[in-house]
């Protein structure tokens, strides 16, 4: 897997092309907005999307864990798409997910999609945020902490390749904020040009667009 190292709040992190943020010194993996069972959610409105998204996401996660030492995982919120996600999830996916929960210390910083009553007692630490070495990890950007790593917005950016525009998910960061892309298979995204994202990152920031093969880097200054 291709990755790029970045320094945030004085610590070294690695950005991986599938959307993982890896803190090697702490053997900690941070991923955001997995939206389990987003695909099958739409069966309620008679749209029968191929129900393989959760499985794909979990295979990707398993591969990462197999390739890198991981002792702790922080899910930055929106782990499940809706409260019935576990009911619809295939046995296969459940097996993989619960095996991860058994073997690795997992924390979920709760997001707006996460329904607490369905996430209790499955071996997952639930919290609003978690602060490690002065860095706050949470679903939404932190209001009171200086350094904040968060998700929620599913940032994407348009790259021009051979005069054709393609949208890719991306990381955005400045000195104090780091916004993560969504790790879920079917999740859409919000353009980094949107006002919601722009107001969080005015003046100067870096973007790390992700393609399947590679992490890129772009710098922005206003």
């Amino acid at each position: 897997m291709h990755y790029k190292d970045v320094y945030f709040a004085g610590k070294k992190f690695s950005i991986f092309s599938n959307g993982e943020l890896y803190w090697q010194n702490k053997k900690t993996l941070i991923i955001s907005d997995l939206h389990f069972e987003k695909g099958s959610f739409f069966s309620e409105s008679n749209q029968f999307i191929p129900p393989f998204d959760t499985f794909e996401t979990l295979i990707q996660l398993t591969n990462f864990i197999n390739d890198n030492p991981v002792e702790k995982i922080i899910f930055l919120g929106d782990l499940i798409h809706d409260k019935l996600a576990f009911q619809r999830m295939s046995e296969n996916s459940k097996k993989i997910f619960f095996r991860i929960l058994e073997n690795i210390n997992c924390t979920l910083t709760v997001g707006n999609h996460d329904n607490m009553s369905f996430l209790k007692d499955i071996g997952l630490n639930l919290t609003d945020n978690i602060i490690i070495d002065g860095i706050c990890f949470s679903h939404f950007p932190s209001i009171d902490q200086r350094f904040s790593v968060f998700g929620h917005y599913h940032p994407k950016v348009k790259l021009t390749v051979n005069s054709r525009g393609i949208w890719t998910p991306c990381f955005i960061l400045n000195k104090e904020r780091l916004l993560m892309p969504s790790y879920g298979y079917y999740t859409g995204g919000l353009s980094i040009k949107s006002s919601e994202i722009q107001k969080l990152f005015d003046k100067q920031y870096e973007i790390f667009p992700l393609t399947k093969e590679k992490v890129y880097k772009l710098e922005f200054k206003k």
Partner: protein, 803 residues
Amino acid sequence: MKFKHNPIGLWLKKKGWVLYDHQIETLNFIKQGFDVILHAPTGGGKTIGGFMPSIDDFINNNYKSQPFHTLYISPLKALTADVQRNLLDPINSLSLNIKVETRTSDTSTYNKAKQIKKPPNFLMTTPESFALLMARTDVIDLFKNLKFVIIDELHTFFDSKRGHLLSLNLARLRSIKPFQIIGLSATLKDTDLAKKYISNIKDTKLVSTHSKVVPEITILKSANRIPWSGHSPRYAISEIYSEILKFKSSILFVNTRAQAEVLFESLWAINNKNKKIAIHHGSLEKELRKKVEKEIIEGHVECVVATSSLDLGLDWGNIDLVMQIGAPKGVARLVQRIGRANHTINTPSRAILVPTNCFEFVECIAAKKCVELNILEDEKYSEGSLDVLAQHIVGVAISQKFKKEDLYKQIKEAWPYRNLNIDDFEKTLSFVENGGYSLQAYEEYSRLRSDGDYFQIRDKSLVTKYKMNVGTIVEAEMLRLRVGNRYLGNIEEWFINGLSAGDTFIFGGKRLMFEKVVGNIAYAKITALEHKKIPSFKGGNLPLSTHLSKTVREIFSQRLEGVDLPDSLKKWSELQTKFSSFPKENEFLVETFKRKNGKHENYYLAAHPFEGRNTHQTLGFLILRRIKKLGVQPFGFVANDYSILFSFSKEIKDIDFLFSQDILIEDLYEWLEETPLIKRLFREIAIISGLIYKNLPGNQKTGKQVTFNTDLIFEVLRKHEPHHILLKITTENAKKDLVDLDRLSRFLLRIKNKIKINKLNRASALAFSLLFEYHKEKPDKNELDNFYLEKLENELLEEVNAL
């Protein structure tokens, strides 16, 4: 039949018009119980002919109220209103008590409901609105009095998904209430297949009449040099303008919406006589389009610049001149367009063709020749697509419960689906039920419920979703364009995405400055600033027809001899003969040369198959793979309707290998696996089949239409369900539309052992236009300015003159 006593005959006589033989013949066949195809040129009284059996039947039976007695189906919304207007004239003057109404997507919900309560006798509608009527639970009662179905512009339905949808609904309607069909068309070649489309089981009669007059076609010769490439008519703008001035009313047809915008603006820039010029294209807001149509009919507009939005049948009767700007692309298409300037069947239509580049000039000559000899293309017919079938099954289920075996039998009666096998039918049905995954993941959410023999819908929520998503035309994501408090029309989302606030562009003939996007509305304001960008509306380009391309090849094989060429083209032709050669008949010309591109030497290969853009695109991608296999680094290729130009780093020795027949077996399938084009196709199929809904109740406000990235669905499906029915449909569609596999393989067969290779010192005249386009592709398109192009053209000219 004694037509003297026919009331319509009397009315026509009163008007000073004639009752044509073909009209009488149609009526007679209908009276004998046949279905009829009426094939008559534009201006030949086709519409009246089509409705005569209905009116005749109405009078003879002295009907007081006969709801939905006749159904008229047209591919164009505008046509329904136009035909309604033309019918009201005889109906009123004969004091007949026949109510005629239209029902299209433009009809308000209120009026639609009213129409069901108080139904008209004749209903004018489109395939989509017809499908919606067929999905009603009261469909059997609704059409119990139906006697005739008239299908206008019949030929447009043979090779399209709309035609598949229509045929399915006609087959179902037949099983509900027998009726007779009258198909109308001005351009038909393969009449046997047309008959089969009308009815797979019954014998259909053909009534055909030919115009005795040949259209008068001229090709505009400008004093200015015709550009080598591009599609801009600017070089001839003053000549176009002076032609417009000579006539009271004219239509200027263009091929793309972008061309319409450019031409419209260029004409107004020199419109010192204040001629009333309007613009009409499919992206413009409905009200604006209707206003223009009304103004043309009333004579307030003297000239209209139009795309295919005005192609078909609209009978304005007072158009004096038709101009075709840009290549005609097909003979039937040109005939259709020329037909707009026709009053009656016995006076010739007059048309002027304006080529926008050198190749198009030759294409215009070929088209003129074909029209004069009345050689039309064979229509294409396609096998019924299964995504349309999936949509249809939902419609059927909403309307009434059905037995699986009955439905299968009924579907096979629709001609495009005559070969449907039971396996594909069952897979499609299972897809409709719950997605058709082998894991049966969505069984409990199934759309359909089956109790024993019968299938029906599980709950009513499906009805709204079906109604909001019916149809087979999937457009790119569109945003509504708003200026001040008015809406101007729809504009592609990808185009708006490329704009930043303050960028200027042109739409509907107005110079606009982009402001912002809120929800699904793009805001802009009027500006006086020079515009930079024109929405290019992907997909407006039709490929050159097989038939026309053959004629173009013939003209080239005779080295353009005996053709009246303007001076700039004579020079072009001389250069080709002098430094390379024109391809002889059945010869496939390939030219190689090298050229300095900045600091580097680039090697080029120009191939001239004349097989149309689609085929060339596919061929281009395949050849590119082969060049790589030869260990040469390719830089890329460009293709137009006539040629393909490749650029690479080293000389290629084995050119025969590049074009050998087995490229279709080895490389085609590999390419299909990885091309982004197939994903675009999949998106269309996902939407038509109802895998995802483009419109959902409550979704319009957010502006997000398709909630899912269909590329991801495609990839995951390929990985986990490689035999899924949607993937099968995608491959079938790709072979036909993306690749035009038939045409490509016929080409490779045609050129076998007939490749003529000319090794040149520099670019040939035939290669100029592509070389030019190749360089146009390189800089960021948005930054492209005319200065760059002019500079390049001058550079090439100097090279030529230095010889």
